[in-house]
């Protein structure tokens, strides 16, 4: 097997953008390894529109957004292998993969970009009582069945969880003639984007039941109904509030989990909140020369941000291969800390001299805040104090700092991102 300098694991939006960026940054030896039979990743089944407004200033569907990058990857002559499963990434960046034509093979890479995306939280992780009949699908599985395979999972539908895929599928199933009775959400707020609640639920009079969950699934061979109850502040079902919804299908849209089996095996340090690797300003993990971007790093709402982060990860991977980066030094490391409502930040650490002109810090909050401020402290000094009408867990937030702000602060050890009421 031919050796490559950069191996990109995953050919979805993150992997495609990282590959292009690495090539443009001067590395000619790049390969994308993709498990599916085509490039594009999950975008291929996201046939709805709303992608690319930030990147292309127009509203594209998922397959159209993917095609823009796939076309460029083909034009650039970047090598890729589909139907190829990466089995292992060793700490020395030896990548072991296999497919039907090459069998098992290894690539001795100088740099690896992790771009494996994420998976859906399955029923088994939710502790819902009841039988295990047919008719229970994760929303993404249903999306693949309807949009790629052309099968309808059912006719009378209840959706648990208000993640974006669940909301999108509520509309999609309605378009195809199904009746979506309701979307039940355990939390007192939705996990999806506001726009999706408007255009996927409100448009079709589908009720969103906040602070509700499924407490029983009825049916032995096929789902016959689900029981939904209201929950208290501790998320415990309130007795007497149970309502039975006769249905043949239950869709689960209860969260996405970065898919990091390979990263863990490689010994990459993981972030306890995101479920993805901890990275520095260059999107480099705790293993030198191993980078991460896209949903494998932290779950995004917008593919535009995935592409943007991947561009940087790819460029840094190329710079690393070309020997244009100095190794990270512990004594120069600035820690980025999330506190007071902010749950995590990407990146987790910053080394000023490896930074471009700007530092973008992305984060999520743990609850809904109204008329609150996003604040950033450099040491003890508050440098950002941004008023927001609403800050919600379902929407990723960002703050942008200038490099000069950081370098002006001599001996800076810590950047703090926090939510303040005033």
């Amino acid at each position: 097997m031919k050796d490559y300098e950069i191996v990109i694991v995953g050919g979805g939006p993150a992997g495609l953008a990282a590959a292009l960026s690495a090539k443009e940054a001067g590395c000619d030896s790049v390969v994308i390894l993709e498990r599916d039979s085509v490039l594009g990743g999950i975008l291929n089944q996201c046939i709805h529109n709303g992608f690319g407004l930030h990147t292309f200033k127009e509203e594209l569907t998922g397959p159209e957004y993917a095609a823009r990058y796939i076309d460029r990857v083909l034009e650039a002559g970047i090598d890729y292998k589909t139907d190829t499963m990466v089995m292992d990434i060793a700490p020395d960046k030896t990548v072991t993969a296999m497919n039907r034509t090459d069998g098992m093979f290894t690539i001795h890479a100088k740099a690896v970009v992790l771009a494996m995306g994420c998976r859906e939280r399955p029923r088994g992780a939710l502790n819902i009582p009841g039988y295990r009949p047919a008719g229970i699908y994760s929303a993404g599985t249903a999306q693949r069945l309807v949009n790629i395979e052309g099968f309808m999972p059912g006719r009378e539908v209840v959706i648990l969880g208000s993640g974006d895929i669940g909301l999108i599928m509520a509309r999609r199933m309605t378009f195809e003639g199904a009746h979506v009775q309701c979307v039940a959400e355990l939390m007192p707020y939705s996990g999806g984007l506001k726009r999706n609640i408007v255009q996927c639920l409100n448009d079709y009079d589908i009720p969103l039941l906040l602070s509700h969950t499924v407490v029983d699934i009825d049916g032995k061979d096929r789902v016959r109904g689900v029981t939904i109850a209201e929950v208290d502040e501790k998320n415990k079902p309130i007795p007497g509030t149970e309502v039975c919804y006769p249905c043949d299908t239950l869709l689960l849209s209860t969260g996405l989990i970065p898919e990091n089996e390979l990263s863990r095996e490689a010994g990459v340090e993981m972030h306890p909140v995101t479920g993805g690797p901890t990275v520095n300003e260059s999107f480099e993990t705790s293993l030198e020369g191993v980078f991460a971007c896209g949903n494998v790093l932290h779950v995004h709402d917008l593919v535009d941000y995935v592409s943007e982060e991947a561009v940087r990860a790819g460029a840094h991977a190329a710079a690393y291969c070309l020997g244009n980066v100095r190794a990270s030094r512990k004594e120069d490391t600035i820690t980025v800390r999330a506190t007071g409502g902010a749950r995590y930040t990407v990146p987790s650490t910053v080394q000023c001299d490896r930074l471009g002109d700007l530092l973008t810090i992305r984060f999520r909050v743990g609850a809904v805040y109204k008329d609150a401020y996003v604040s950033v402290y450099l040491g003890d000094e508050r440098v950002t104090h941004l008023k927001k009408r609403v800050i919600a867990p379902g929407e990723m937030e960002q703050v942008i700092l200038k490099k000069e702000q950081l370098t002006a602060h001599e001996g800076l050890k810590e950047i703090t991102v926090t939510i303040e009421n005033e």
Binding site: G50, L53, E59, P63, E64, G150, R195, V198, L302, R389
Partner: protein, 119 residues
């Protein structure tokens, strides 16, 4: 003066836009952070429209479904008539993104176009 609060669906930002109306006339639009929000709010209170995305059966291809969309937004009240035509349409590979699959769908004056390249 009547006030309506909308969530803009122009992009995933989801800005909260307030439309002030006086006897059916739009007096003021506030809260939007770009022009899309202004256009959306004005349309939403007078003639709400949506882009419809779906799939049609495709023949002679490695896959069975071709994703499609309306080339422009159609009135909300026409969505299910549009879906009905889409569900009775078959396409033939090869197809390129932007190829017209249905002309003037359900007499809306809008074409349905392919959103995926299929060789």
């Amino acid at each position: 003066m009547e006030k309506r609060e909308l969530t803009c669906i122009g992009c995933p930002m989801g800005c909260t836009v307030t439309v002030e109306m006086n006897g059916g006339q739009i007096v003021n639009v506030t809260g939007n952070t770009c022009k899309i929000g202004d256009t959306y709010a004005r349309k939403e209170v007078t003639n709400p429209t949506r882009i419809v995305t779906s799939t049609v059966i495709v023949e002679g291809a490695p896959m069975t479904r071709l994703p499609v969309k309306t080339a422009a937004d159609v009135p909300k009240s026409d969505i299910f008539r549009v879906m009905d035509v889409i569900n009775h349409t078959r396409a033939k590979a090869p197809v390129r993104i932007g190829d017209v699959i249905i002309e003037n769908v359900a007499d809306t004056g809008v074409d349905v176009i392919a959103t995926r390249n299929i060789a």
